[in-house]
Each structure stands twice: as structure tokens, then as C-alpha cells.
């Protein structure tokens, strides 16, 4: 028996029963004399967790009403079943899926970045397009520096937050918030630009989409938002496939095009519907070249997404993050170089009205308008749209880190049922849709706003790392400092170029917005600090203070069961109870008083009587006289005030509109009044009009 008994859990240490309402212990007598056993019964909504805690089960989440069940079913269809916190690790992304999720923005930029370079150069005439290739190579060099810098950020701060974490810890709170603000703006623009570019790509071959691009852009943002609300892993599974299809299609096109070029079998170059004229409107100067470079640097956005989202990767997070970012940089570099090469060799022209993309022109040149053309165009469109997903991965995660640091509302750190940062996802979708609509869904209008934020983040993060290596002299600091310094210089120079050249085209908006956003983050932090100071328990050994017995006021509209119940509760908590009635006329006041005097329940068992004040309100206002009455009582009486509200709860929610909801309005009006406790005594009404027992809620 000994070993059997041990397995059945023979008693070791004992402690007294805690009498928890979630665990009932009943002793039962067995069939044989002397046999007794204890049944441990738990409600199905809770199970016992480790260390005597209780864990809510799926049963606890089940809705009770049919409307609730319908809503739950809809949520399940849209977002999937809830995922428990303990399964967080299995929701993480591997390198392959991580590349598909975190690198979509960066990789997809190859579809339009070189076009943006060409569009600026073409302002000086199509002859200036010979600079496309050198500028493309310059962008790839900067990309290389940024990628190496990002591996350092990931290795140093694998806990996420990316550039924000680096700048905050190494340079201080203000630089950290500048980075955070920049990235938040940039992620919003990522979603807006990617969606607009995706809609443009579809618009290249479906004219109605081009004509209603704002509508389609907003619809796509909503769709991506829904995908992300289903959780990181599921979003990854949805979004990773198109990334690989795009890469294969691009590599196929590049190889096919290169084969044609090197074998001298160049087909005639396709012409877009509205090609740029050969004579330009601007002179080809250094400023225009730098502006073209700055526009092309949009290609580097999204390079920080992996560093920011490292915690969403499977362990070892840092190693997987570095592999992902290196893969992203390599693949992207190859595609960008290949497309720039093809565009330069074919002398493709951009479309003045953005009706056809350069990518479409290049593809049409080599493969005609066949199946492969549509494969390239559709995969590009899908990837451009899904690039917005990088924003949806980065923004909510960064917002949650900021919320944890008390720089953003706490709701942003809350994870929904699918372990996604739901508030951040929805907030980003709304912000991006507004930006998209404000700029008419035009990529060219949006691009000048883009990239400033991300280069600001790169520069400050790299500067932070330079400082870190310099101060700490960690292993290999000499070569690390060299990489970070080159990174800081290169990205800083690019930032200056981007800010100067794009200033008048819209970059000024970001430069104005950024300090305002930083001020807002500071203001939020100041509020949370003040609240934390006010709520802190300074002396943990201090006993709980018993509050003074309050004076209780019970507003009574009608002397009915609901009011009687509230009065009964009031006398149970204090001997100082006053009923107050606001009458709309002298007659109704008289009627109420006579009813009150006929009601014997006002006399208490100890001989006292509940006091009654009647206020006549000639203008029929209810709330204001009541609030003034509470003010006057408060002035004259030093005791705290408790207002007990009788609230009638109808059987169905839609019956609420048949009642005036005065208690609700009064509770709301008293919410911000100091020194006032509001207690709600609900009176639940059943179909037959009988009273149901209901708990008393304090507000």
C-alpha cells in the first residue's frame, strides 16, 4: 500500500482550509462504518493552478446570452479561437516565416523605390535617367551598412524595442522618444504607402481600381488588420507565402532579362500610357540627384522591423533575428540591383500619371502581357499590400514597449485573445487609413513623408551603440565602434539629404509632427508618474484604515420597490440616511410627501426615521438640483458622502430605451466628484414582475 498511497498523494504539510468560494469541500460518509472521504468540488469555470491559485477555464469565457453567443461565434470566425498565454512560445515565428512577416516591407520596397528615383531624375528630362544605376548602387551600399548595424542592435538588445531601446538606454529618454516617435510615424506611413503602392500596381492592369484607389486602399488596410488580429503566427502563415512567390517571380524575371541583355536579344522597350517627356522642367543639379537618392532611400524602410520584432521570433531570438536580417538584406540587395539593372538597360520610362509602374513596363518589355506578366504584377501587388504587415508587426510591438515604459496608454500593452496587441493594431489601421485618404492614395504624394523617421531612428540607434562601445569597452569594441560609427555617419548623412531635399514636398509635416508626438509621449508619462505617486503604498505595515461612517443620500424618483431596496441598503451601512426627491411641480411634491408619510417603512426598528428632503424644480431639471443638493450637504457635513442609487434593470437590453436612465446619468455626473462614493443598487425585473435577488455594486 505504501507506494500506492504515495502515488495517491499522501499528506505532507498541512495548512488550514482557506474557505475560498471557488472550492467546496464536503465530507461524505462511505458505505462501511468509519469510512469517510472529502469531495473537492470546483465550479467548471475555474480549476486549481499551481501554488493554490485558481485558473479560469474556457467555461468561464462562455457567453451567457444568445446575443453574446452570436457575437462570440462571429469573433471566432473572424479572429479564431483564443490562445492561452502558456502557448505564447508556440505562436512565435521561425526564420522562414519571420522573413515573410518582418521583411515584407523591406523586400517589397524594391518594387517601387527605383521608380521613385527615376521619377525625380525624369524631371530633368529622360536623358537624366542614366543616373538610375549609380544611385541604385549607392542605395545598396547604404542598405549594407544599415543591415550590419541592425545585427548589432539585435545582438545588443534582443528583448525588442530595436532602435528605441538602444537610444533610450544609451543616449537617454529624449533621444529614445525621438526614435520612438519617428518609428511610430514611419510605421503608419509604411502601411499607407505600401497599400497605396499595392493598389497602384493592381491599377496598372485594372482601371477601376486605379479610379477608386482610396476606397480600395482603406479596404485593404482593414483586411490586413483583420489578419493581424488573428495573431502573429497565423498572420505569418498568411503573409509569408506571397513574399516567397514574389521573390521567385522577381529572380525569374531578372535572370530572364539578364539573359536577353547579355545575349544581345533585347526586345523593344514597352512604353507606358503617359511617358515622361524627353525634355525636363528642372535642371539636373546636385540637389535633384540628392533628391532622387533620398526618394530611393524609401527602400531602406522596414530594415529596422526585425530588430524591433526580435521577441516574436523563436529562441534563440537574437541568433534567429540576425539570420533573418542578413537574409533580408541579401535577398533585397539582389532584387534591387537586378531590377535597377533591367530598368537602366531597357531605358524604361516612368508614367507621369502613375498609371503604369516601371516594374510593369520592364516586365512587359521582356515577357509581354502573358501569364508571367500577371504573375509578376499580382505577386508584386500582393506583396506591396502585405508589406503593410511589417507596420502591423512593428507598430503594436513598439507601442507595447512604450506602454510598458508608461509613455503610451496602457491599453497598448494589452494582448488580446489571440496574443496580438489588438489596440495597437486597430489604432495603426485607423491612423494609416486617415493618412491614405488625406493624400488621395498617391504613392508619390506620400513618399516625401516617408523615410525621415526611419533614418532618424537608424542614426540615433547607431550613435547610441557608438557611445555604448566607447564607454563599456566590451569584447571586440574596436571593430564594433567602427561599424556603428560608419552606420551613424551614413544614415545621418542620408537623413540630412532626405530632410533637406524633401522638406518642401511634405517632409516638413513629419518634422513638425515629430516634436508634437514626443511632447505627447512625455505628457502621458508625466500623467502615469503622477498617478503612480498618488497610489503608491508608502507604508506596507500600516493597517487598513476604517473609513468614517458616511452620510448616505438616496435620490428617490418614485416610492417603489426599487427605491425601498436602495433605502434598505442605505440604512444597513449608516445610521445617517437622507432620502431626496426632486419634484417637477408643487402638486407632484405634495403627492410624493403624502405617499412617503403613508409608507411605514420609513420608521426604523430603533425608533428613528429616514429623513426626507423634497426639492421642487420649476424648470423640470433633475440632475443639476440634485448635484447642488449634494454640494450643499457636503459643505455643511464633514462626513464623507455616499450616494446610493436605485437602478431599475429591465429584462432585455433593448428595454433600456423605455426608461430614463437617470441613475446612470447621475452616476456619471458624480464620477469625478471628490469625497463621494456612489453605490448602485440594481433592481432586476423578471417577466412576471417579481423581484430577483441581485448583488449590490459599488461604483
Amino acid at each position: 500500500m505504501a507506494d500506492e498511497g504515495e502515488r495517491h498523494g499522501r499528506a505532507g504539510m498541512d495548512r488550514a482550509a482557506d474557505g475560498s468560494p471557488l472550492e467546496e469541500r464536503t465530507t461524505r460518509t462511505g458505505a462501511l462504518p468509519g469510512n469517510r472521504y472529502v469531495r473537492i468540488v470546483r465550479p467548471p469555470e475555474f480549476r486549481r493552478g499551481r501554488g493554490g491559485m485558481f485558473v479560469a477555464t474556457d467555461e468561464a469565457l462562455k457567453p451567457q446570452t444568445s446575443a453574446g453567443r452570436g457575437y462570440e461565434l462571429l469573433r471566432r470566425i473572424l479572429f479564431g479561437p483564443p490562445i492561452s498565454t502558456e502557448h505564447e512560445l508556440s505562436e512565435r515565428l521561425g526564420v522562414a516565416t519571420g522573413l515573410g512577416v518582418l521583411a515584407t516591407d523591406n523586400i517589397s520596397s524594391s518594387a517601387y523605390s527605383i521608380e521613385e528615383v527615376m521619377r525625380v531624375l525624369a524631371l530633368a528630362g529622360t536623358g537624366a535617367l542614366f543616373l538610375t544605376m549609380p544611385i541604385g548602387i549607392a542605395i545598396i551600399v547604404v542598405l549594407g551598412i544599415v543591415i550590419i548595424s541592425q545585427t548589432q542592435v539585435i545582438r545588443t538588445y534582443p528583448g525588442g524595442g530595436g532602435s528605441y531601446a538602444v537610444a533610450k538606454h544609451e543616449l537617454g529618454t529624449l533621444p529614445g522618444l525621438v526614435v520612438a516617435g519617428s518609428l511610430l510615424i514611419d510605421y503608419t506611413l509604411t502601411v499607407a504607402v505600401s497599400t497605396a503602392a499595392g493598389v497602384d500596381a493592381i491599377g496598372s492592369f485594372v482601371q477601376p481600381v486605379f479610379e477608386h484607389r482610396v476606397f480600395w486602399g482603406v479596404a485593404l488596410i482593414a483586411l490586413i488588420m483583420l489578419g493581424n488580429l488573428r495573431g502573429v503566427r497565423e498572420a505569418g502563415l498568411i503573409f509569408a507565402g506571397p513574399t516567397y512567390i514574389y521573390l521567385l517571380a522577381m529572380l525569374g524575371l531578372i535572370l530572364f532579362g539578364a539573359f536577353h541583355i547579355f545575349t544581345g536579344a533585347m526586345p523593344p522597350t514597352a512604353v507606358p500610357p503617359n511617358p515622361f517627356p524627353s525634355t525636363g522642367t528642372e535642371a539636373l543639379g546636385i540637389f535633384l540627384i540628392l533628391r532622387a537618392f533620398a526618394s530611393g532611400c524609401a527602400a531602406l524602410t522596414g530594415a529596422e522591423a526585425v530588430a524591433n520584432g526580435t521577441p516574436s521570433l523563436r529562441p534563440p531570438e537574437a541568433r534567429n533575428g540576425v539570420i533573418t536580417v542578413l537574409l533580408m538584406g541579401s535577398v533585397y540587395g539582389v532584387v534591387l540591383f537586378g531590377l535597377t539593372f533591367l530598368a537602366a538597360q531597357t531605358h524604361a520610362l516612368p508614367d507621369v500619371k502613375e498609371q503604369e509602374t516601371v516594374m510593369s513596363v520592364v516586365t512587359r518589355t521582356f515577357v509581354g502581357k502573358g501569364a508571367y506578366y500577371y504573375l509578376v504584377q499580382i505577386s508584386t501587388s500582393v506583396l506591396l499590400i502585405l508589406a503593410a504587415n511589417t507596420g502591423f508587426t512593428g507598430f503594436p510591438r513598439l507601442a507595447s514597449v512604450l506602454a510598458d515604459d508608461r509613455f503610451m496608454p496602457r491599453q497598448f500593452s494589452f494582448r488580446g485573445e489571440r496574443l496580438a496587441f489588438s489596440v495597437g493594431i486597430v489604432a495603426l489601421a485607423i491612423a494609416a487609413a486617415l493618412v491614405l485618404a488625406a493624400f488621395g492614395g498617391s504613392v508619390t504624394n506620400l513618399i516625401p513623408l516617408y523615410t525621415i523617421g526611419v533614418f532618424m531612428a537608424f542614426t540615433l540607434a547607431q550613435s547610441g551603440l557608438v557611445r555604448r562601445w566607447w564607454v563599456r569597452h566590451e569584447r571586440g569594441w574596436q571593430w564594433r565602434i567602427a561599424i556603428s560609427a560608419v552606420g551613424a555617419f551614413a544614415t545621418g548623412a542620408t537623413l540630412l539629404i532626405v530632410a533637406t531635399t524633401k522638406f518642401e514636398y511634405g517632409a516638413w509635416m513629419v518634422i513638425v509632427m515629430l516634436p508634437l508626438l514626443v511632447l505627447l509621449l512625455f505628457a502621458i508619462h508625466r500623467h502615469y508618474s503622477a498617478v503612480a505617486d498618488a497610489l503608491v503604498i508608502e507604508d506596507p505595515d500600516r493597517a487598513v484604515l476604517r473609513p468614517t461612517v458616511p452620510i448616505v443620500l438616496v435620490p428617490v424618483a418614485r416610492l417603489d420597490l426599487s427605491a425601498v431596496r436602495a433605502l434598505g441598503f442605505a440604512v444597513s451601512i449608516s445610521p445617517h440616511v437622507r432620502a431626496v426627491h426632486v419634484a417637477t411641480s408643487a402638486e407632484s411634491a405634495t403627492i410624493f410627501r403624502s405617499r412617503w408619510e403613508r409608507w411605514s417603512g420609513r420608521h426604523l426598528s430603533d425608533g428613528r426615521e429616514i429623513a426626507l428632503d423634497i426639492i421642487e424644480s420649476p424648470y423640470r431639471a433633475l440632475l443639476q438640483p440634485l448635484l447642488k443638493y449634494v454640494d450643499r450637504v457636503d459643505e455643511r457635513d464633514p462626513r464623507p458622502i455616499t450616494v446610493v442609487l436605485a437602478e431599475f434593470i429591465p429584462r432585455h437590453w433593448w428595454e433600456l430605451i423605455l426608461h430614463s436612465q437617470t441613475a446612470f446619468r447621475l452616476r456619471w455626473a458624480l464620477l469625478f466628484r471628490p469625497n463621494t462614493i456612489v453605490i448602485d443598487v440594481p433592481y432586476h425585473f423578471s417577466a412576471v414582475g417579481r423581484e430577483e435577488e441581485a448583488p449590490v455594486r459599488g461604483a
Binding site: H8, A11, D14, A17, L32, N35, V38, R48
Partner: protein, 142 residues
């Protein structure tokens, strides 16, 4: 014979998953209700209703695991935690209270003094239960 209510005492041994699967397969044709029960044996120097955190945690875990196995096998296991001085007496009593028509006991394969060992709990349930008792012994190789 079709069993309508099957009680499966679970002690947290290696044989538990097999017994749960067997109970599901026996109960499936007649859509039998399956009860999984774990008895915490309380030493005589403690009150019978003493709160034993470690044993409760262990019991909850093994019952949750058994319920999962039953669900994976296509059945549903209602679980219950008991405290008693002797596991066997409580199993016999709960089988009577639940009006079970079969108690399915699991026995890990063990040998003592050159003979296959049958635990006292199994023996006492076998002798004391009002209903049919089926003892499932694990394979020797396991």
C-alpha cells in the same frame, strides 16, 4: 455487455494514459459516462479535510492530463478529486455513489519477491466494489 458509467481511478502512474484510452474505447459503443478520480490519501495525523497544496496541484495536473488524453481519443472524462484515509475505500464509495457499472483500474507492471505485484488498492477495490472491476496490467516490456 454495455457499460453506462465507468469509473477510472487515476494514481498518476505510467499506466494512466492506457487506462483512459481503454475506458474511452469500452465506453464509446454505449456512450458511457466516464469518471476520472484521483484520491489524495491523508495521513492519520492530519484532519481529513486538510488543504494539501502539493498533492492538490499534482492531482489537478494528472486529472487535467487524463481529460486531455480522453478528448484526444474522442471521449469526455469528468474528473473529480477526493481526499480519504485509504484510496480503495473512497474509490469503492464513489463508484457506489455514482452508480457506476464498471471500475477500470490500472496496474503498472512491477515484480516483488519474484512475483508480479498487485497493489493493495487494486486488491481492495476488486474485493469491495459493488460493480464489475476490470484490472488492466501494463505489458511486462513497458
Amino acid at each position: 455487455m454495455a457499460y453506462k458509467k465507468i469509473l477510472v481511478p487515476l494514481a498518476g502512474s505510467a499506466v494512466d494514459p492506457d487506462v483512459v484510452r481503454l475506458a474511452v474505447s469500452i465506453g464509446k459503443p454505449a456512450k458511457a459516462r466516464l469518471y476520472g478520480v484521483h484520491v489524495i490519501e491523508v495521513r492519520w495525523n492530519l484532519p481529513l479535510d486538510a488543504v494539501l497544496d502539493a498533492e492538490l496541484d499534482h492531482g489537478e495536473e494528472l486529472l487535467a492530463s487524463a481529460a486531455r488524453i480522453a478528448a484526444q481519443s474522442g471521449g469526455e472524462l469528468e474528473t473529480e478529486l477526493l481526499q480519504a484515509r485509504e484510496a480503495a475505500a473512497a474509490i469503492v464509495d464513489i463508484a457506489r455513489e455514482r452508480q457506476c457499472d464498471l471500475v477500470l483500474m490500472g496496474m503498472p507492471y512491477r515484480r516483488r519477491l519474484g512475483r508480479t505485484y498487485v497493489s493493495r488498492t487494486v486488491e481492495e477495490v476488486y474485493l469491495g466494489a459493488h460493480c464489475a472491476v476490470l484490472a488492466y496490467r501494463q505489458e511486462a516490456s513497458q
